[in-house]
Amino acid sequence: MLQTAFNGLVTGIIVTLPALAVTLLFGVLKFPNFAVGSMMTLAAYLVFALNVQLGWPLVISTAVVAVAFGGLLIAIDYVTFKPLRERGSITLMVASLGLGFVLENIARLAYGNTARSFAIELARPFRFLDIRMNREQMITIVVSTLAMLAMYFLLTRMPIGRAMRAVADNPALALVRGIESPRIIRWTWFIAGMLLAVGGVLIGMDRALEPPMGSSYLVAVFAAAILGGLGSPLGAFIGALVIGIVSELATLVIPPNYRIGIPLCVIALILIFRPQGLFGQPYIRK
């Protein structure tokens, strides 16, 4: 039982980074981005290129790709979403769906369908209170907690973070208070890009690297972001943990291959009882 709960914690932790990215992007751009899954896949393959093909250590390749991927997303936004900025969230969502297909298949075009892995030594687990933990899971927990703290610090202490929250809170007022929204949107994409790159690597470490790896997490990531309250980073973190633990524990009751049903039920319940999620603010209509 305890081991399943811990497994759930690990699954949840992996979901935190993409959930943070989704919440950040939703806050500022006001639409759920369906390309998040394939972005993680593409980032993971870029890290694979550096780590396995060029032989760089995983940590350095992840850092390099994280920064580069942030810039790449800015460029993609400029070409894809910027022209559609004023066109309502449905158009943006459909564009993000199209983008998702493009990114996933770029990875498939370059690396084919065979499963691959990063060049890291797999180690036997170490035991703690009869729970088995392995090195990758430890790294995952440390990395995502650090990411959460960095995000918290950024959003509360740093001007960029405050500005991002301001744009999310009231875009028109932000303009009139002197905030250059385009610049803030670029920063948001950059930070989301880093989160998604690291998220992609964590998934790649946990399981095999294959083109559909990112999109298989999509429903769980959205469930986490919605449970936490779209727009609230702390909510996304807590939401991800809850989704992870609940869906793993549920496998003791329902057959494991229906595990994807759990995030879906969570979304449905949230929408009925508390649409703004645990920490979100009621969605003000402009």
Partner: protein, 409 residues
């Protein structure tokens, strides 16, 4: 990606250039000299994407060999139309329609996965065209196929029998079973389970998982958590890599028995998980009898080192060979005629031949032939199932596949 030699590119360009121009005339000019079209549907993408390329290469070289030896039916050349079935049923069905209606093929070969075979079956039978698959699910050859559907692979249940016997021989008292939700995996799992029960061994747990799951932690925990002596795991490469990483890092030490299409896949599994995770994994796969002369000739045809084990390419080689021989014997490219000649050519009675060109010479000379190909002895039951196929049994040691035994059902 395989490199295309200049000669081959020119040949394909030639064939390809001919298509759009020749297409409208193709079906009219069945006269002397026109080429005989054969449709080849293989998975180049989707979850079976890893197996298509080599199978296509085998088909191309076999056709080239037959053509360079003078072709069949008085010098007519075989022309292959190779398409990607994307491991999907609807794509395969569309392809089959295209082969039959556009390219006027009377023979559809390749068809690696069960979905592709199942969706193309009604189309082939309805249009009275021969369909040759290399998928394992029993349902492909069940029911009335009027002699148009032939399987160049072992039936799924036979896989289960061989593996079940091996498990008993290896002396495992209790085992866990987990498998991918897939048409050919389910019959294998069921047969292995039944075998264990009849042999009085206990099955500690059995579950099915989905393709492309975000994580397999729960499944590994439930099956390996009960610490059975061995776990049979049936599925495909992507899920097996994730599962074995989870098993190794979870500190589980049950022995693992799997299929070669997941634990080898032309070396891609070991490449993905590394030698120490793969250590001790046993894997089975229907394989050609590598000692058979037909297989040795096939290796030379492929220009591969003689210790190389091809799992599926020999099937497409045999398929093309059987099509050619049956047409030659029936002296007609129409499936209605040559489909009845498949059993005589393959099962005999007749002179035992393992080279398609020599066999064609004998057939032209009117002599009976019993062809045994690269993938198997090519003996068939009337409803299209293949007999005499054995399974190879390997164990991964030090990052290498060590051959253990060759077992027949």
């Amino acid at each position: 990606m395989k490199k295309l030699t200049r000669r081959k590119v020119l040949k394909r360009l030639g064939a390809a250039a001919a298509l759009p121009i020749a297409a409208p005339f193709l079906n009219l000019a069945h006269a002397q000299g026109a080429s005989i079209p054969i449709g080849v549907a293989l998975p180049f993408t989707g979850n079976a994407g890893a197996y298509g390329p080599d199978m296509a290469e085998a088909a191309k070289r076999t056709a080239a060999k037959i053509n360079s030896a003078g072709g069949i039916l008085g010098g007519r050349k075989l022309e292959l139309f190779i398409e990607d079935s994307e491991s999907s049923a609807s794509v395969a069905a569309n392809l089959s329609q295209k082969f039959i209606n556009v390219h006027k093929c009377q023979a559809l070969v390749g068809y690696w996965g069960t979905p592709e075979g199942m969706s193309s079956r009604p189309i082939a039978v309805q249009n009275k065209v021969v369909l040759m698959v290399s998928s394992a699910a029993n349902a492909i050859t069940e029911g009335d196929t009027q002699g148009y559907v032939w399987r160049f692979q072992m039936k799924a249940t036979d896989w289960g029998i061989v593996i079940g016997r091996a498990v008993q021989r290896l002396g495992f008292k209790n085992i866990g079973i987990m498998g991918l939700q897939n048409a050919f995996v389910l019959p294998i799992m069921k047969t292995v389970e039944d075998q264990m029960k009849t042999a009085g061994r206990t099955v500690t747990g059995s579950l099915i998982y989905n393709p492309e799951q975000p994580s397999y932690r729960a499944e590994v925990e439930r099956i390996f958590g009960k610490k059975p002596e061995a776990v049979c795991c049936f599925g495909l490469l992507p899920d097996f890599v994730s599962i074995m990483k989870e098993v190794y890092r979870g500190g589980f030490d049950s022995k693992v028995i799997a299929l070669s299409i997941m634990a080898d896949a032309e070396g891609k599994f070991i490449e993905a998980v590394g030698p120490q995770v793969a250590e001790g994994i046993r894997h089975f796969q229907p394989m050609p009898d590598t000692s058979a002369p037909g297989y040795k000739k096939f290796l030379k045809l492929m220009g591969a080192p003689d210790d190389r084990v091809y799992l599926f390419p020999p099937n497409t080689h045999d398929q093309i060979a059987v099509v050619a021989m049956a047409m030659e014997k029936a002296k007609s490219p129409m499936a209605v005629d040559w489909s009845k000649q498949i059993i005589p050519v393959c099962n005999g009675p007749g002179q035992n031949i393992d080279d398609v060109v020599d066999a064609l010479k004998l057939i032209r000379a009117g002599k009976p032939v019993n062809f045994s190909g690269a993938g198997s002895t090519c003996d068939f039951t009337p409803n299209g199932d293949q007999l005499g196929r054995g399974m190879g049994h390997w164990i991964i040691q030090g990052g290498k596949n060590v051959f253990v035994e060759y077992a027949k059902p």
